[in-house]
Structures are given as C-alpha cells and as structure tokens.
C-alpha cells in the first residue's frame, strides 16, 4: 500500500546542504533521500543494482556526491546514476552503465519543506497538492503557528520507538478524540493531583462533544482534530504542566524582548493544538511530527521528530524541546500499551470485527464545498475515512510498480 500513494519521507532541513542525504524507509523499502549539487531532491532505492547489497549504510551524511557499494565497489552519483564499475572491461565493450543506475522513486515532491514520494504514476502525475487536498490548508496553519515562512522549521532530533502492533493500530489512534479521558488517565490524574484543574488535556474529561472542539475528514484518508478552541481558549502555555527550566526562560525572555513578545513566543513553544493526520504515515501532534513505518504485520516503527524554528531567541527552542519531551514520557506510553493490547485482541480467531461506528450518520455533521466533513470531537469519522482510502489502495495494488 505504501507504493500506491504519496508517502512522507523527510524534511528539507534534514538535507539542507547540496550533497547531503538521509536514509529512510518508504514502507518496507530502504531509500536514500539525497539533495544533489543542483539542489534537486531524489529518493533512491538503497539496493545495489549489481548484487543487491545495501549501498549506503549510514543514517545521514553530507559532502556525499557519490555512494560506493562496499561489496564490489560499484559507485553511484547522488542522482542515482551509475558512475563507475571497477574493472569494467571484463563486461565486454559497449557496456551501457545507465542500465545499472540505482532505481529511483519516480515522483518526489516537496510541500513547504515536507518531502513526499510515490511510486504510483497516476498519483504522481496529479501531484502532491492534489493528494494533500484540504490537509494542505491545515498544514499551512501548523506552519503559521510555528512562525510561517520567515521562521524555517528544522528537525532537532527524534525519539524512536518500536510498537508491537500493526501500523494501523497507531494510525487508528491519531484521530481518536474519544480515548484521552481513559487511556491518559495516569497523566490526567497526576496533573490534577499535583497542579490542580485547568491544566494540560483536562478539557477531554466529561462532555467533550459539547465543547467547540471538532474532528474532520479532509479527503484522501487525511483527517484533523482541532483542540485549539479549548487549549487556546486563554493561554496554552499557562495550561502546560511546567517544563524543566520554565521559570528561568520566562524570566530571561521577558527581560530580553518584553512581556508581550515573550508571551507570543511561549504560546508558539507550546503544542499547536492540532492533530493533523496526513495519510498514511505523517501525523502532526502538538509541535512534533510522528512518522509511522510498518516493519512487519505485527511490528511498527513510531518515530517522533522534534521541531525547532530559526530566527527566534535560543531559549524559545529550548522551551519547545522540553515541552515536546512531555507527551512521549507521560501520554504516549499508555497509548502504546493499548495499541499493543488491541493488536493482540485482533489476533483472536473467533472474533473478526471491531467497532468504529461512533457518531455514524450523525445528522448534524456538515460537508463543505471541498468535501470536508466536520463532526464532533469524539466521532470515529477519522477511522472511517482513512479505512475507506486504505481499502481503495489495497484493491488497486500493482505489485509491478517499479518495472
């Protein structure tokens, strides 16, 4: 399925310089995402065309115009072109080296710094914007929360986890506004006990469907949960459980830039209040990006990329990073335990079905001109919308994609 649609690969800031690269997964395929000397971005299958060995064995690097396979020394440009075959004369005269170019993912495209790729020519020709549909506008809002175009986003490391569950168990959760009150009880209870009410996610307790928060199906399997009406009702920063070093940063920044400007920075350092799910593998959660990669049927890679921004006082980024460490330590582990428990339950042979009918057919759900459906925050609309897309892709699967 990961060959049938646009898949997120990397952020442009990770390969900022010409001749830099990162090694990534596109579904289960190993790819090298490169920026060539002309600033063009390529996604190369990391498999030597000679004997199949892994050509690049580093996770990232720069000043790398060529990759040399360690086995027999075949060398490729970072455009994929086969540059040298040692002792080539043994293959006879007139050997066309081009037939040994590294296979490339044919469609690679960037949307405001986010690099996507697809093997599917039909989707590829229509372009990334057509695929993102209404998710593009939401991604713009997320970028705007982080300072817009004049404050470029960069990746500041990652927290990587294995989840013993099918990748869809993770994706199921990404737009689930129903679970926080229950799955995150430890976080909510601890926060209430130590810091009182009105903190962090406590707006998820009680009658959540009568809050102004909402969920949306954005088309093509993408979805959106908007926590901002509650989280940003007054100040998201004031709601945040205190991050390490918060007091020192507040004091320093207020002194440096004044109270008003400092407050704007603090809100920016707090999570964006959006859960934007770009099917099938890119989830925006707070100020982080979660990328899901299937490793096998029952094993997934869940990587949380940290983001910081250019052109702000350095303590703003320190505060962002300390904030981003919060949910992965206090919230996500309980979710992960539940994903793994779900996957275990789904192996029971006698029971085929799970339920995703919450708010199905809700009369008040509205659809706008671009096809975006809006429902209440605890609706299962996210799961219904993405499984529809998943089913479509699974049925169109063409195993001979690369040719």
């Amino acid at each position: 399925m990961f060959s049938e649609t646009w898949v997120y690969l990397a952020h442009a800031s990770e390969i900022k310089e010409p001749n830099s690269f990162v090694a990534r997964k596109m579904g289960q395929r190993s790819v090298i995402v490169t920026r060539d000397k002309e600033n063009k971005i390529h996604a190369l299958l990391n498999r030597c065309t000679h004997r199949g060995a892994t050509v690049c064995r580093e996770k990232k690097g720069d000043k790398t115009p060529f990759f040399t396979c360690p086995y027999h020394g075949w060398t490729f440009r970072n455009t994929g072109e086969c540059a040298a075959i040692p002792h080539q004369d043994a293959y006879g005269e007139g050997l066309d080296k081009q037939q040994f170019n590294l296979k490339k993912v044919p469609f690679v495209s960037e949307y405001r710094g986010f690099i996507f790729a697809t093997l599917n020519p039909e989707k590829g020709r229509k372009g990334i914007k057509e695929h993102l549909k209404s998710a593009a506008g939401r991604l713009d809002e997320w970028i705007d929360h982080n300072g817009g175009d004049h404050r470029a986003i960069r990746i500041s490391g990652a927290q990587q986890y294995t989840v013993h569950a099918n990748w869809k168990c993770l994706y199921d959760n990404a737009g689930d506004g129903y679970h926080p009150e229950f799955s995150h009880q430890s976080l909510l209870k601890m926060t209430q006990e130590r810091y009182g009410s009105g903190m962090d996610l406590d707006y998820f307790s009680g009658g959540i469907d009568s809050t102004p928060m909402y969920s949306q199906s954005l088309g093509n399997g993408h979805s959106f949960l908007d926590q901002r009406p509650c989280m940003y009702e007054n100040s998201a920063f004031e709601r945040q459980r205190p991050q390490p070093g918060r007091e020192a940063i507040v004091e320093q920044l207020t002194k440096e830039v004044g109270e008003q400007k400092a407050k704007a920075y603090f809100e920016m350092a707090t999570g964006a209040g959006m859960n934007l799910n770009i099917f099938p593998n890119l989830l925006f959660i707070g100020n982080q990006m979660q990328v899901i990669t299937p490793l096998s049927v029952g094993l997934s890679d869940m990587t949380w990329y940290s983001t910081t921004v250019d052109n702000v006082p350095t303590v703003v980024n320190t505060l962002r990073i300390r904030t981003q460490e919060d949910f992965t330590a206090f919230g996500e582990p309980d979710d992960t335990a539940n994903f793994e428990a779900c996957f275990k339950g789904m192996q029971e042979r006698e029971i085929d079905w799970i339920d995703i009918s919450r708010h199905l057919g809700r009369a008040e759900d509205s659809t706008d001109d671009s096809g975006v459906v809006t429902s209440v925050i605890s609706s299962d609309i996210h799961m219904r919308t993405y499984y529809e897309e998943w089913k479509k892709l699974m049925q169109s699967n063409d195993a001979s994609r690369l040719g």
Binding site: T162, G245, D301, W304, T314, I321
Partner: protein
C-alpha cells in the same frame, strides 16, 4: 535544611538556567575520560565509599520500585537525562528520550503511583547491574563517576536487555551525598526503543 518546595508542594525549578545547561555540557566532556583517573584526582576514600553506596542504592531502589526513597537519592537541583543520541549532544538543541528536573522527575513517579499508568500494567520488573565504576573529583566540591550498566527488564513475561554507560555528578548537601546529574547513555539511544517507562 531550607525547604525549596514551593507553596503548591512541588520542587522549585528556577535552578535550570543557561549556566546550569553550560555546566551540563561541561560534564558531557568531563565524563569522556582519557586514561585511568590519576591518583591526584581521586576523591577521598570516605567520599568514594559514600558515593558508591549511593549509586548502588539508587539502582536497587529503582528496581524495587521504592520510588519515593529513590527520588530522595537526587538533590533538589538535579537532572535526570537520557539522551536520544550517542554520543549525547546539547539538550538545548536536540530532543532527548527523557530530560527531567526534580519537579518533572516527581511527576514521573506520581504518574506511576496513580495506578492507571497502563504502560506499567503489568508492572515492569527490572534489575540493574553496574560495573567498571570510576570515580574522580570534580572542580568544585563535587564527585563524578562513570559506570557501565546492564538492565534486564521483564514486561508481559518477556525479557529484554538494555545497556550503556552512565555519567554521574554528586553533591554533598547537609552532610549527605546526593545525585545532582545522572546521564544514561543507552548504546541504542538513536535506535528504536521499547517501553522504558521504568527508571533507568
């Protein structure tokens, strides 16, 4: 002893400022020992024994889930740090797996104590084994140490092993040695992690 807890009852965290981060980066270098610790840099035998007792007690209390006593091994101005890179970089510029001041460390314990921390149901049993411990005298009245570790963890009836090295800095508060910084360097810090919601 001065009570540094604020009116809400949790640890005051004003200490984690730029100077403290700078000191962490200094420690990051200091833990990279060249050869054997020279005799002149050895702490006194009494201090060394006290710090060794502290290191072993801290590991044992974490394993025995006596988390309130475990917290007590840390000074009021402490940092518990698990980098997400190997070697560790500057925590002001890159995300860590965990980076807690005393207040957030108390939050971590309180989360487990709620009884509804599902990542710890069933509870994860651990055993730390510490070895190759080297102690030396820091610039101020601190003692520093570095050790290799192996943690065997049991969750859902499956064992797994974590390993790496730990850098410590100890301070003496009112006659008692406490941990002021503990940096846990997992050898797979930049690789996929499992459920590490116990204390490393």
């Amino acid at each position: 002893m001065v009570d540094t807890k604020n009116s809400a009852g949790h640890q005051d965290s004003t200490y984690l400022n730029e100077a403290y981060y700078d000191q962490l980066m200094h420690l990051n270098e200091d833990w990279q020992l060249d050869g054997p610790v020279p005799a002149i840099n050895q702490p006194s035998l009494a201090d060394k024994l006290a710090c060794e007792a502290l290191v072993f007690a801290e590991a044992r209390l974490a394993d025995d889930l006596r988390l309130e006593q475990w917290l007590d091994c840390y000074s009021d101005k402490s940092i518990y740090w698990i980098p997400a890179n190997y070697p560790a970089g500057d925590p002001r510029q890159e995300i860590t797996l965990e980076f807690h001041d005393k207040r957030r460390l108390e939050d971590r314990v309180a989360r487990i104590r709620t009884g509804v921390a599902y990542s710890m149901l069933p509870v994860i049993r651990t055993r730390h084994v510490l070895g190759n411990i080297e102690y030396w005298q820091g610039e101020t009245n601190e003692v520093r140490a570095r050790t290799s570790f192996i943690i065997d963890a049991l969750f859902n009836e499956k064992h797994r092993t974590l390993s790496g090295w730990i850098g410590y800095s100890f301070v003496k508060n009112d006659g008692d040695w406490k941990i002021s910084v503990k940096q846990v360097n997992l050898i797979d810090a930049d690789c996929l992690q499992e459920n590490n919601t116990f204390f490393l």
